[in-house]
Amino acid sequence: MTDAQILEAMTDIFRQIFDDDSIVLTPSTVANDIPDWDSMNHVSIVVAAEARFGVKFLTAEIEQLKNVGDFVALIRKKLGPAA
């Protein structure tokens, strides 16, 4: 899976959780960019990503995420190298 594909899947998760099809994620998107992105929704996003990609994040990994780009990189690492 390429970074672009991961970003696309993440965008879909965000659009679902915030019921807003206008959301466009970039690697530099941060929580402040999306009004409803609070700690509760953050947990939902992480759990949704785990279910979508079939991976499990470590607590320490989650705590280091600073933006969507970090998140995509973490997922890529979990999935192994792009085919």
Partner: protein, 655 residues
């Protein structure tokens, strides 16, 4: 396109997310939601309810909830009061993430739910403080969920007595909270059992460690189940779900530490569905009748083609045994009060032959309250079954192995619940149980012989038909039934059944007023109020408690009939007239001079619109919400019936 996770990982696998697998897969449903935004209220609400009745995962549930709240920030105009609810969620951990699932769980049952979630661990202050946000919210149901660390602390006790004291103290604390809810809000409580997420310290013989968290949770859950029935509390059995789904599906220790979420968001939609069942059951919306297809549903193969010897049923054959097990499950449902019916595309003689002659059939003709086998479409036949049994379509579940028939019924009769039965019959029973259609609140003696009562009803119907055929008239038929109406004022013994009837009777119900058990008790204890519970017997058997009346004193020496309801099972037999005779007699004894009747129209009670004029009441001015009627007792002449009326102390016991 998905690559497998690296094999070397030693992290536990992610929760796949619990599936509401009995619901059909979602259509491209955000399109439907968008449509709902512009549609008129009734269409929009119907669309959203239909979307909720598809197999949404937790993320889709969050999305649907946002769409619903945007479209309906308040209840949809015109929605019946029994389709709205106010739920307060109080507990010791993070709960906000459960709210979307709760609202959608209610929406799935056509209920618009307003929710309130208390501050983390603030429940006692909120209950006690009369000016708290909780009091301003005025809940109609309170859901408590406590985690074991909150109740038992984190330091494991080894002394058996200390451990027992800890459980006892937690039980008393919770019982006290239930009492506070009763005092402040007089509303039902839903108590979630403790989710046992403590990690074992001893292994298989964990029970030997008195203070083991797991053991404490089990002991407290046992206590909660014992206390609940006397306290008007319903149990939400999250611990039972763990047996089905595993702890990993419900609880993620990483999220517990990160966000103090005891229930994982990945299970929140399922949690909401479990609560939705309880809310719906309290509001009288649980299903009452299971309608079964025959070929490849109750047995393997096609009876019309394969014949009695050819169908697969029992006989040590794996498939045949699975059908026997499903029949056993259906029979067990019938024993607890669910009516069974059959809807099959077959010649009737073929459909009946296994019931009569197959040695391995578990279900017999006597277990089926109504069997319809012909070549009409199944939607038409379900309507016919609904009519014959006087059970509303929205109280029916239709089990059919054939996806074509399922979809046909779903589109023609969206109010009928149609589970996506798994392909393997070995999983039929589990599927129907997991769907929670028949959620019960309390089991009464009446539930236990209801199947028999409907069966007797069918015999009455056939007697009626034969009398008609032989040019006999209805009077002959009614006289031949030898009906006896037993009555008593409300009593402690009958309180649960009376409360149950008050809260679930929809059709023959003049006012559809719902009361809690405490409110019913208050009416019982008020000497000036006339309360009547009625039981009807006839030559075919016992119809159980079939009627409830509450009439309260008002000005001008009148008794106002606050509640008059009757079971539809006994319609058309003159029970209304016999009941009025009795009510008049009771009112006269207490010195009343007139009766006031009131009809409040609802979605379902059109059948009693003319109830009072038919009984000789005179019309008064229509009120805003219905019609009012008056009967002068001085002018009343006893109505003719074929029913003997008798006061009895045995009204709720078995005869």
């Amino acid at each position: 396109m998905q690559s497998p996770p690296p094999a070397a990982s030693s992290t536990p696998p992610p929760a796949k997310g619990l599936q509401l697998y009995w619901l059909p897969p979602p259509e491209p449903w955000h399109v439907a939601i968008r449509g709902a935004a512009d549609a008129d209220d009734a269409v929009a609400w119907k669309t959203l309810v239909q979307v909720a009745n598809t197999r949404l995962d937790f993320i889709e549930t969050i999305r649907l909830d946002r769409a619903v709240r945007r479209r309906f920030p308040g209840p949809p105009p015109g929605l019946a009061s029994s389709r709205t609810a106010r739920l307060a969620l109080l507990g010791s951990s993070t709960l906000d993430h459960l709210l979307p699932g709760l609202r959608v769980g209610a929406l799935r049952r056509g209920i618009w739910l307003d929710t309130y979630s208390g501050g983390y661990g603030q429940y006692l202050q909120e209950l006690l403080g009369a000016d708290s946000a909780l009091h301003r919210f005025k809940p109609a149901t309170v859901l408590f969920c406590f985690d074991e660390e909150h109740l038992f602390g984190t330091d494991m006790l080894l002394d058996a007595r200390d451990a027992a004291d800890l459980v006892d103290a937690a039980a008393r604390k919770i019982e006290n909270l239930w009492r506070l809810v009763r005092e402040h809000f007089d509303c039902p409580v839903i108590q979630q059992t403790i989710l046992p997420h403590g990690v074992p310290v001893f292994g298989n013989n964990e029970h030997q460690v008195p203070g083991s968290p797991r053991r404490l949770a089990q002991a407290l859950n046992q206590r909660l189940r014992e206390m609940a029935p006397h306290n008007g509390a319903d149990i939400l059995s999250i611990d039972d779900r763990l047996l089905m789904d595993g702890i990993g599906a419900w609880h993620d220790p990483a999220l517990w530490h990160r966000a103090k979420q005891e229930i994982s968001p990945a299970a929140s939609h399922f949690y909401g569905d479990l609560v939705g069942r309880l809310l719906a059951a309290r509001l009288g919306h649980s299903a009452k009748c299971l309608v079964l297809d025959l070929d490849n549903t109750l047995w393997g193969g096609v009876i019309g083609d394969d014949g009695l010897e050819g169908i697969k049923l029992g006989q040590g054959n794996a498939l045949g045994e699975a059908y026997v097990a499903f029949q056993r499950y259906a029979r067990n449902l019938s024993k607890r009060g669910i009516i069974l019916a059959v809807c099959s595309k077959n010649d009737e003689a073929n459909a009946l032959s296994p019931f009569r002659r197959h040695p391995e059939m578990v279900l017999r003709e006597a277990d089926i309250a109504c069997l319809v086998a012909n070549w009409d479409d199944k939607a038409t036949n379900l309507r016919e079954i609904s009519r014959r049994l006087s059970i509303g379509l929205e109280h029916m579940v239709f089990a059919d192995d054939n996806p074509f028939e399922r979809n046909l019924v779903r589109s023609a009769l969206p109010m009928v619940a149609v589970p996506e039965l798994p392909e393997d019959p070995a999983f039929y029973a589990q599927c129907i149980a997991d769907a929670g259609y028949f959620e019960g609140i309390y089991l009464t003696a009446d539930d236990m012989d209801r199947g028999q009562q409907y069966q007797q009803n069918q015999k009455r119907e056939s007697l009626k038909a034969s009398l008609n055929a032989s040019a006999g008239n209805l009077d002959d038929y009614l006289a031949s039934l030898q009906m006896e109406l037993l009555w008593a004022p409300f009593d402690e013994m009958g309180l649960q059944r009376v409360t149950q009837l008050i809260n679930k009777t929809n059709q023959f119900n003049l006012t559809t007023r719902r009361f809690t058990e405490n409110e019913v008790r208050a009416a019982m204890e008020d000497a000036a109020t006339i309360t009547l519970q009625l039981r009807l017997l006839d030559r075919f058997g016992d119809n159980g408690i079939i009627g409830v009346i509450i009439a309260r004193p008002v000005a001008d020496r009148a008794a106002a009939i606050d509640t008059w309801l009757m079971s539809c099972r006994v319609l058309g037999r003159g029970v209304e007239s016999a009941t009025l005779n009795l009510l008049v007699e009771q009112a006269r004894e207490r010195g009343f001079q007139r009766l006031l009747g009131e009809y409040l129209p609802s979605e379902k009670n059109k059948m009693v619109e003319q109830h009072y004029p038919k009984l000789g009441f005179a019309g008064l001015d229509d009120s805003e919400c219905g019609t009012t009627w008056k009967l002068e007792l001085a002018n009343f002449r006893t109505l003719d019936t074929f029913i003997t009326t008798k006061k009895s102390h045995l009204i709720t016991g078995s005869l």
